[in-house]
Amino acid sequence: MNILYFLVGCSVVMALIFLGAFIWSLKSGQHDDVVTPAMRMLFDEEEVES
């Protein structure tokens, strides 16, 4: 059962990574505007000007 120590450690480290990712996404402003990106992605690709 000692393997549990390792597994618990792994799970905590992974959870911390996810928390870090969340904090990063929040700080970098990814949640500031959740409406415009949804509309922006519907625009067509730019036509290549000849």
């Binding site: 969340f22 929040l26 505007d33 509309m39 922006r40 519907l42 625009f43």
Partner: protein, 793 residues
Amino acid sequence: MEQQKIWSANLCYHCGEGISGIDLVIADKHFCCAGCKGVYQILSANNMCAYYAYNEAPGKRNETNTHFEYLEEPNIVKQLVSYQDKNNCIITFYIPAIHCSSCIWLLEHLYKINAAIYSSRIDFLKREVTISFKHQEISLKQVVEILTQIGYEPAINLQDVVKENSNTIHKSLILKIGVAGFCMGNVMLFSFPEYFGLSNLEPQFKALFGWLNLTFSIPVVLYCGKDYFLSAFASLKHKHINLDTPLALIIAVLFLRTAFAVVFNSGVGFADTLTGLVFLLLMGKWVQQRTYHHISFDRDYRSYFPIAITTLQNRQEKQKAINELAIGDRLWIRNGELVPADSILMRGDAWLDMSFVTGETEPQQKVLGEIIYAGGKQMGEGIEIEVVKNASQSYLTGLWNKENYTSNFKQNFNDSVAKYFSIAVFVIAFGALAYWFFNNDSTKAWAAFTAVIIVACPCVLALSTPFTLSAILSVFDKKGFYVKNTDAVEELAHCNSIVFDKTGTLTTTENARISFTGTLTDEEKKLLVSLLNHSSHPLSRQILNNLSYGKFYPISNYKEIPGKGIRGLINNQMVYAGNQSVLPFEIKPDQVSGVHIVINSTYKGTFMVSQQWRSNLPWLIAALGKQFSLKVLSGDTNKDEKALQSLFPTLTTLKFEQSPQQKLAAILQQQQNGEKVMMLGDGLNDAGALKQSDFGIAITDNINNFTPGCDAILKGTSMGLLPNFHQLSKDGLKIIKISFAIAIAYNCVGLYYAVQGTLYPLVAAVLMPLSTITIISFTTIATRFFARKNNLR
């Protein structure tokens, strides 16, 4: 395809308005005016016609001639930009015209028009665009001019200079929720073995999980729960107990008990309850703080004022920021510009629209040397004025500076209950403590003491209010009633008297009724529409729509005299339309206001534009009259007194020619008589009264228009629902009280175990989420029920 053709034939390709008058055609596309055509030409020249592909007629007609010279002043630019270095400059504009996906496309492709604008990002809900440009290659003024040319004029006003940072507060709350949720999830995971009794097999894991749980609790208490401790200390300092006081105590007790249990290996502690509690509390806070980012409730006079004004220095025009204006400065006010500070008229013909200040609809003429109050809008040629008071000390802005607002301390239901709640909890907790000490069982005494405090958690109380009130907010929101925050809903429920403003509140600015004194032959109609068609003045457009005559003559010698009227030579006949001063001769003195028509030196009649009462107003007044005492405070003259008397119940106070200060004083008077006053107003002249009232509602026909600071914004079309809104807010308070009773019932079950000292962590961990779920589902269902009952769904 057929439909498409009909569309393009009758409606403007750019703005979608009906084409009345000259039809401008380029490349099979029809335009209603030179402005719309101009925008199309710019876009097609820059290969940006995709703008028209995403939505039909996405443009908005704009007829502005704002001057942007002030954007060349480094001092003003410095206040506006959010970032600037040697090459780059970043600025955020509020653009009211943003309304569809085409707008996003166009404004994010500004680099096609000018490559120096290398990035532009839109925030659609806030109607903001953040533009980054190389200021060596293009000046800020040019950027704004490009925006204006394509129909997206940014609204730059004095309040922009003061940047608000409410967003950062919101962000830190989300961060706290994230951390609390993370800790709660992990603690739950490590508590499972305990729930299932596995730790008896592996005692060394029990200690490990205990220590892990304790570690995860530390950030929850010290970081996420910090605000509760700060708030509790602050309220104790003021010798008064708010809801955060018992909450802080519970968090502290839970943490200390967990720490003791883990350190002395005497159990598992309450880490799961603790983290879950903090997480839920923060969620409740978040629901409560959820506001409308795209609507501003805190506007004051600064939003109405421009950021800079033209001053005259030695006959040279110079742009100066409003807050740098000094007494003695000479200002040059053009047609349509606002007087920013109390001044004396020095030169020119001043016709001032004082509706911002007094609510009066007719423009006033001022003579040389007369004082002009800030907030007046010049309707006519440019005038020269001399400042006699600083902008921040003028008559109008004094409404905000004066500390004449009695701070109506708003104590909500929660805080008033919290005191009794805390006392009851302490009595029971100390009772249990004393009882077990009496029985010489000190361990049980402490266990019972702490357990009572844990179980009697007012968490439900802290959650039911935000959940109920925010559910009500979203019901209101769908019906066009935007309330500032959840506390304001409680204020609404308590109101017992209503004060109305007249212009713009009881009357509507749209759908003005146009009546004509006199008669026009078909030929004269044709002459008149040919003249009016050239003017972009709102009155001309309204009369043009009213006449609905589709044939036109060519026109020559057209002249528009701003603020006065228009004239032109049509079919060799001189046609005049406007007020007295544009006409070639004096007409009957009884016809003062309105648009007078003179064709070939004969007076033909006058178009009277009268404001119309809002629809179903009699019904609304009757419904409100049953529950509230009503009152009308109007800044306008008493010309509508008769009509109002028939609308309102007899003995209703109707006051006219009220200054903003008098309105404010009247509200204050009512409040001193113990009334809870709801104020309905629309303009800056009501701003003081709106702020002072217990619940100020700003009525608007267009939600994107500027509204004065208030507690709620109501769409004019939803005004008929006001009694229903009020009833729902009252029902909301009822829901909160019922959920409080439910919470008490749960607490009694918990207390039964707690006083005996046999509250197992598992019971606490189940009881708390169970009661929370009950309350949240109860409030949601009950709110839906009451919303349906009040016809708001």
